[in-house]
Symmetry: C2
Subunit: 512 residues, 2 copies
C-alpha cells in the first residue's frame, strides 16, 4: 500500500541490550524523523497494546498519524500486512440535512455516502429557534444529543452498507455553519446572534472521538472546520478549500446562499469575505408553497411567453407539492422574461390573465391548479411572496456589488463564479442572472460546487496539502463587515428592479 | 497574586463589532503572545464555560497553563479576584511506600503531606512478584486499580486535612521506578525483567487526570517522570533534579539504594548513570530480624569495644522488634570497628564471647536478648545474614568504582555524594564508610537527599525551570550497562573485605 495522506508504513530496528529505547519512544522517534522533527504524541491507550503488536508484526507498523496543532498524533497502528479498512468520515453538518461520506483513508476512495434530516429539526426548523432552545435548561444538551445520536444511527447504517465496523473509522472531519458547529460541540450558541456576535470558539481543538460521543473508534480524532465568525462558518471554509479559489492566479468568487448569503472573493494572494441576510425566500420559507428540495418539489419552471403555458418539472417527476428556492428563482425569471412580471417585480395583469386572482386584497398567481397538485390545493405565488424574493435577490446582488467595489474589482472580471451548497446544485444561473440576482458575466463562468461543505471535509481526510491549507485559508481571509449605510441602501433599491435599474449591466437579459 | 510557575493573570481587550475574534481564540492568542508564540491548547470542556466566565470576570482571567510536549495546555481558568486554592499534588510512587505532597500552585507552598503503604504489597512485597502477577488474566488491572484506588483514598483524606476539595487539584506530578510507573499507567511490565529489558515507554505522555482515574479535577493533567530504561526510573530523574548535580560545576554523585543500587555521576556538562543489583540485604529482606524502617525498628547501634556492650536505638524509642537496612549497616560497622567482625566479614569468636552461639551449624550473634525484645524472642544476626550484607556492600562499592573508572574520575575528587531515598535519610555515612560500602571521602561531602523522588516531583509543580530541565536531564544521561566481566568480579572480590582488600583507600577507618 502506498503511503496515503495520513498513513505511514514504518520499519524499526529491533531493540537490543545496546539499544534499549522503549517501544513507544522507538516508534515515535522513527515517525518524528519522518516528519522533520515534528513532535509525535501517542495516547496511553495506544501505548498499552504497542509492545505486543510491534513484536507480532516484527518491528513494522502501519501508522495513522494526524496533525493536531503543535504536534502530530499517532492515532492508531495496524498490521502492515493486514487488509482491514482504515476509514475516515466526512460530515456536512447542515442545518436541514446532514450528509456523510465514508472514505478509505489508504486509497482515498469513497466507500459510501448517505444523508439524513438533521434531527434538531424537531426542535426548530431554522437555526434561530434552536439557538433560543439552547438557552433553556437542558436545551443545549438536547440539541447536542439529537445531532450526535442521529449521526451514530446513520454511521451504523452507513458502515453496514459499506461492510465495515464503525470501529474502523479513525478520523472524522466535520464542516458546518458556526451555530451548527457550536451545537455539535455542546457550546452555547447564545452570543452568535447577539451583538457583537462573538462565537465561543473560532478554531475548535481536534477532539478525541470518545470525548464527543461518536460511536466510531474510541481512539480516533475529530476535526471540526474553523469559522471566521458567527456568520461565516466552517462550511464556507470547506467550500473555499473545495473550490480552490485560494490557489487561483485570477480572482474568482464563491457564493453560498441560504438564509444568509455568504460570499468570498479572492485569489492566491488575498481573500475577502462577507455575509449578509438574504432573507428566507431562497430556503422555501416565505411562499405558502415553499419548501426544501425533495421528491415532488418543483425545481424547474418554463413559461411559454406566447401561449402563457407553464411547463413544470418536479424532483422525481411526481405531482407537484411545493417549490424550492431554485425553482422559485426559475419561476420568477420565466415570469419576468415572459412579461408576466414587470421591471418593478409586480405581476402584469394583462399578461398573467386568468392565472391571476385576488385574495385578501392581494394579487396571487396560480402556478399549479388544484387538479394537478399533489396536495389537492392550487399552488400559488402571491405578490407578497414575489416581493420577498425581490428583496432577497436585491440583497444578494448588493452584497456582491459592495464586496467588489470595496476591493476595486469589477464583477465582470471574475474568472469563475462558484455557487455552493444545495442551492448551487439546483440553481440555473441563467434564471438567477435574468432576475438580476447574480451578475451577467457569461454562463460558462458559473460553476456549481455541489456539496462543497462535504467535499471540503472529505479532502481533509485524504490530502495533507488540503489540511495545511485549512488554517492558511482561515488566517488569510479578511472579513468585511457590511455596513448597511445609505450607499448600501441606495444600491439595494437599484437592485430591486428586474434585472436592475441599470439594464446595461445585464446585456444578455431581454424580457418580452 | 504574583504569577507563579504555571499561573498567569491575563487581561483581554473586550470583543466588539470590529474585533469579533471568538472568546477561546481571544484568550489563547493572549496566552500565546505571553509564551513567545508557543501554541496553547484548550479542551472543549473548558471552552464550554469560558464565554460566561470571561464576561463575569470582565475580560480578565487567571490561567493555569501547563507545558505538554509541543504545546501548552490551558488546564483551567479562575476568577482573578477569587481566593480559592489552586493545588498540585506531587507523588512518590514507591514500591513499598507512596508519599503525597499537596502544594499551593500559586505560592509554591506546601499544604499537607501524607504517606501510605503501597496497596500492591497485598499482591507481592517486591516488584518482581507484581510483575509476574501482571501477566495473569486481570492481573495488570488489579495492580493498577490498587494503586489508583489507594491514591484516591489518600487524596481525599489529605485534602480533608488541608481543607480543600480534591477538585482543587489540577496538576499531578508522579515519580517512581520504571515498573511502578508502568503499573500506575496500566502498561504491562512484562518485558522490563526480560532481556533485553525494554520498557513500553520512556516518556509517558502528559495525561488527563480523568483518563487515568484519579479523583482530582477532571480537567487536570498528570505528568509522569520519564525513565531511562527498565532499571533507571523516573524516581532517579527526580532525584537528579532535586540534587542539582546536573547544574554543578564540579562532578558529584547521587546514589539511591534499594534492591538495586542506582548511581548517577556528573556535572553541568555530562551525566553518566548505571544500576546494578545490590541484593536485598539493605531492604531488610535477608536477616530474620530485618524489616523496613518503622516504629520499634532498630536504626542505630553503638558497640563499646572495651566492654562489648550494645547500645540500641529504635525508631520511636519503643522496645526493639527488628532492624532496618541502615541499622544493619550501623551494626556491621560497629562490630567490625570493635573487632567482633574481621576483615573477611566473619564473626570473631574470641571477641563476641557469649553473644555468639551456633544454631543449625551456623554462627549467630545475639543483638537483643529475648527479655528486651518486643517480640519475646532474641533478635539475632547469623553469619549468613552478615555474608549477605557483605555481598551487598561489595556490590555497591564495585558499582561506584566501575563507574568512576569508566569516566576517569577518582571517587576522592567528587565534590558531593548525595544519598537518596528513604535509605539516604537513615544511613550514617561513617558506618557505610567503615564497612567499605561507600568511599572514604570525608563525611562533610555526604548529603542525604531525603525523599528526593517526592522533592523532585514537587519541584515540577512550582518551577518552570525544573520542568524545562526534566527532558534535558533525561536526554543528557549516558546509561552505562554494567558488564559483569572478570574485571568487575575481581573488583567485587576485593571489595568483600572490611573495609577493602586495600585498606589505604579507607584511611579514616581504624578497627580495633
Amino acid at each position: 500500500m502506498a503511503n496515503s495522506a495520513w498513513i505511514y508504513d514504518i520499519s524499526l530496528t529491533p531493540p537490543s541490550l545496546d539499544d534499549n529505547t522503549a517501544d513507544a519512544d522507538r516508534l515515535l522517534a522513527a515517525l518524528r524523523s519522518r516528519f522533520d522533527g515534528a513532535l509525535v504524541h501517542a495516547d496511553i491507550a495506544l501505548i498499552r497494546t504497542l509492545p505486543e503488536q510491534l513484536r507480532r508484526w516484527e518491528w513494522k507498523a502501519r501508522c495513522l498519524v494526524f496533525p493536531v496543532r503543535g504536534r502530530r498524533d499517532l492515532v492508531a497502528v495496524f498490521d502492515p500486512d493486514g487488509t482491514s479498512t482504515v476509514a475516515g468520515l466526512a460530515v456536512d453538518l447542515g442545518t436541514t440535512r446532514v450528509v456523510l461520506r465514508l472514505v478509505d483513508l489508504a486509497s482515498g476512495g469513497e466507500l459510501a455516502e448517505s444523508a439524513f434530516d438533521n434531527p434538531q429539526l424537531a426542535i426548530g426548523p431554522d437555526i434561530l429557534a434552536r439557538i433560543h432552545h439552547a438557552d433553556r435548561p437542558g436545551g443545549l444538551d438536547d440539541l447536542k444529543g439529537l445531532i450526535i445520536n442521529g449521526l451514530n444511527r446513520e454511521i451504523a447504517a452507513l458502515c453496514g452498507r459499506a461492510g465495515i465496523e464503525p470501529g474502523s473509522i479513525y478520523l472524522v472531519s466535520a464542516a458546518g455553519n458556526t451555530a451548527m458547529t457550536h451545537l455539535f460541540l455542546g457550546l452555547s450558541p447564545h452570543r452568535i446572534i447577539r451583538e457583537p456576535y462573538i462565537p465561543a470558539v473560532n478554531r475548535p481543538p481536534v477532539l478525541d472521538t470518545a470525548s464527543i460521543g461518536l460511536d466510531v473508534n474510541p481512539g480516533g480524532r475529530v476535526l471540526i472546520f474553523p469559522n471566521i465568525g458567527s456568520y461565516f462558518g466552517g462550511d464556507l471554509i470547506a467550500g473555499i478549500l473545495h473550490s480552490g479559489i485560494h490557489r487561483g492566479e485570477e480572482t474568482a468568487i464563491l457564493v453560498d446562499v441560504g438564509t444568509n448569503a455568504e460570499v468570498v472573493m479572492g485569489n492566491r494572494n488575498w481573500l475577502i469575505a462577507c455575509a449578509g441576510a438574504a432573507g428566507p425566500a431562497l430556503e422555501g420559507g416565505v411562499t405558502k408553497m415553499g419548501m426544501a428540495a425533495g421528491h415532488g418539489v418543483i425545481d424547474r419552471v418554463a413559461v411559454d411567453a406566447d401561449t402563457g403555458q407553464f411547463e413544470i418539472r418536479t424532483i422525481g417527476g411526481l405531482p407537484p407539492k411545493g417549490i424550492c428556492g431554485s425553482g422559485l428563482i426559475d419561476l420568477a425569471a420565466q415570469l419576468f422574461l415572459a412579461g408576466m412580471v414587470d421591471v418593478r417585480g409586480k405581476f402584469v395583469a394583462s399578461r398573467c390573465k386568468d392565472r391571476l386572482f385576488t385574495q385578501d386584497g392581494l394579487a396571487h398567481l396560480t402556478v399549479v391548479d388544484a387538479e394537478r397538485s399533489a396536495t389537492g390545493e392550487a399552488l400559488t405565488l402571491s405578490q407578497a411572496n414575489l416581493d420577498s424574493l425581490t428583496r432577497s435577490k436585491a440583497a444578494m446582488y448588493t452584497i456582491l456589488e459592495t464586496l467588489a467595489m470595496t476591493v476595486g474589482v469589477s464583477l465582470k472580471d471574475l474568472s469563475a463564479f462558484y455557487v455552493g451548497g444545495t442551492f448551487g446544485s439546483f440553481i440555473r444561473p441563467e434564471s438567477a442572472v435574468a432576475i438580476g440576482m447574480l451578475p451577467d458575466i457569461g454562463l460558462d463562468r458559473y460553476i456549481p460546487l455541489g456539496n462543497s461543505s462535504l467535499n471540503g471535509a472529505a479532502q481533509i481526510l485524504t490530502s495533507a496539502e488540503a489540511f495545511e491549507e485549512l488554517d492558511r485559508i482561515r488566517d488569510r481571509i479578511t472579513y468585511l463587515e457590511l455596513n448597511v449605510n445609505q450607499d448600501f441602501m441606495n444600491r439595494f433599491s437599484a437592485a430591486k428592479f428586474y434585472p436592475h435599474t441599470d439594464p446595461d449591466r445585464f446585456p444578455s437579459v431581454s424580457p418580452r
